[in-house]
Amino acid sequence: MASYSTSDFKGGLKVMIDNEPCSILENEFVKPGKGQAFNRVRLRFLRTGRVLERTFKSGETLEAADVVDMEMQYLYNDGEVWHFMQSDSFEQYVADANALGDCKKWLKEQDICMVTLFNNSPIAVSPPNFVELVITETDPGVRGDTSGGGGKPATLETGAVVRVPLFIQTGEAIKVDTRTGEYVSRVK
């Protein structure tokens, strides 16, 4: 496998740290007044999402991680694992609950997701930024209420719970921003 030196480090580069694949977020060259240079690097562990700051001697190398992001269609969950398909090759991949993480509460069959493959197996799945989901349960709204105000919790078909305005009713479809978990609009 290729390796990268500190001078190659830049945002987005995928490298191995402690045998775990990481993505470099930021690389800062540090040079004390008359002293030895080093690099201060912020990294995100792809499996856990944990962010770490670490320093490297100038010229130190890290092994490249065999990581690719690929768009895939979510097919179904068989009760244990989640099945995805790469739309061009029709190749199917299986992701476990760890790889799905929080993503699973947004996933509806046939949605297109970004799947991160490490050594060709899924380690992380990102949902689309916006999803449209049907409300399966929410308290009836009070007549006359308009948007604004406090809102109320609503359970969606995937099991996620979001706050919605009081006028939204069970059975309606809404658009949700998966990055913040917030209601965006009603879907007509």
Binding site: E28, K31, G35, R40, K57, E60
Partner: protein, 309 residues
């Protein structure tokens, strides 16, 4: 900014000088990497190595020894293997020397000069001054003068810097610089200038030893927005000590497998002739501009950073 700097020194009757960018001698600092180029006399088959200056310090000290009195220079300096948000391999330095000034007087003048610039920007708060050893002990929890490598390693572990040993090796200077850069410097110079003075003797550069305590040298660094703007000394005038520091630098370079430039014999000769008692400082002008305009990187203040030069 350049016009204001020239006005400031004209008012103080400090003489503007120019010294060569292309020099016969390099620097022996283990962590400064000079650009080299080849010079050929017309018609000669031989090429000799010349160095682009990393700072005008040696040449300016030769002028001081020749009796020029207080002098300043605005020049380009070149440092290889330095590039990043706060580094460009070619940059602008303001360097000046004040005959008869001790470090405290020089700090006062740096403070006055920088605060006189950028009148259209919000004023800086009153500057703050720290002793290196006190600051280090307060932020890192160990005394930099007495701590050994084990003590520094324990402190680094406690601060969550487990990989410090692999970066710093067994050099006390590397350890101090590393811990200072990561855990102290980012907090310095918040909306004001911070002066840190009295560095441990293992970080001497060209500063003279403090008469009252030989473990400390008369060196100051000035910070703004967590960034080092400059480095000043009550200048070392002893040629024997200077030669010893050159040799120590060369030994360290040899250990690290770096090129071994010749010592600058002309500087040593000038010191033997006699350097007047003086203090001097170099300020990175690109960084000063970046900090005072609130810009995120040198690229934002340089018309043509290296990638576009």
């Amino acid at each position: 900014m350049l016009a204001d700097i020239r006005r400031f020194f004209a008012a103080c009757q400090v003489l503007e000088v120019e010294t060569p960018l292309l020099c016969q001698a390099g620097v022996t600092d283990p962590h400064l990497h000079a650009f080299t180029t080849g010079y050929r006399k017309p018609g000669s088959p031989h090429t000799s190595t010349l160095y682009l200056q990393t700072s005008p310090e040696y040449a300016m000290k030769r002028l001081l020894a020749a009796g020029y009195g207080s002098i300043y220079q605005i020049s380009k300096a070149f440092r290889n293997e330095e590039s990043g948000r706060q580094h460009n391999p070619e940059f602008s330095l303001l360097e000046w020397y004040r005959v008869g000034f001790d470090l405290a007087a020089l700090i006062g003048e740096i403070d006055a000069l920088i605060n006189s610039l950028f009148e259209d920007q919000p004023a800086l708060a009153a500057s703050e001054r720290y002793e290196y050893t006190e600051l280090f002990e307060r932020c890192i929890g160990v005394d930099p003068l007495t701590a050994d490598l084990d003590g520094l390693r324990v402190a680094a572990d406690r601060l969550g810097l487990a990989e410090a040993a692999s970066v710093c090796g067994d050099s006390q200077a590397n350890w101090l610089d590393y811990l200072f850069s990561l855990k102290i410097q980012p907090q310095l110079g918040q909306g004001r200038l911070s002066f840190v003075q009295g560095y441990p003797a293992c970080l001497p550069s060209l500063a003279r030893t403090r008469p009252a305590d030989a473990r400390i040298v008369e060196r100051v660094e000035v910070f703004l927005d967590g960034m080092e703007l400059g480095n000043g000394y009550h200048e070392l005038a002893d040629p024997v000590e200077q030669q010893a520091r050159f040799d120590a630098g060369l030994r360290e370079r040899q250990r690290l497998g770096l090129p071994l430039p010749d010592r600058d014999e002309r500087l040593l000769a000038a010191l033997r002739h006699g350097l007047p008692d003086c203090s001097g400082v170099a300020i990175g002008l690109d960084r000063l501009l970046m900090a005072r305009l609130g810009l995120p990187s040198l690229e934002a203040v340089l018309c043509f950073p290296l990638q576009r030069a």
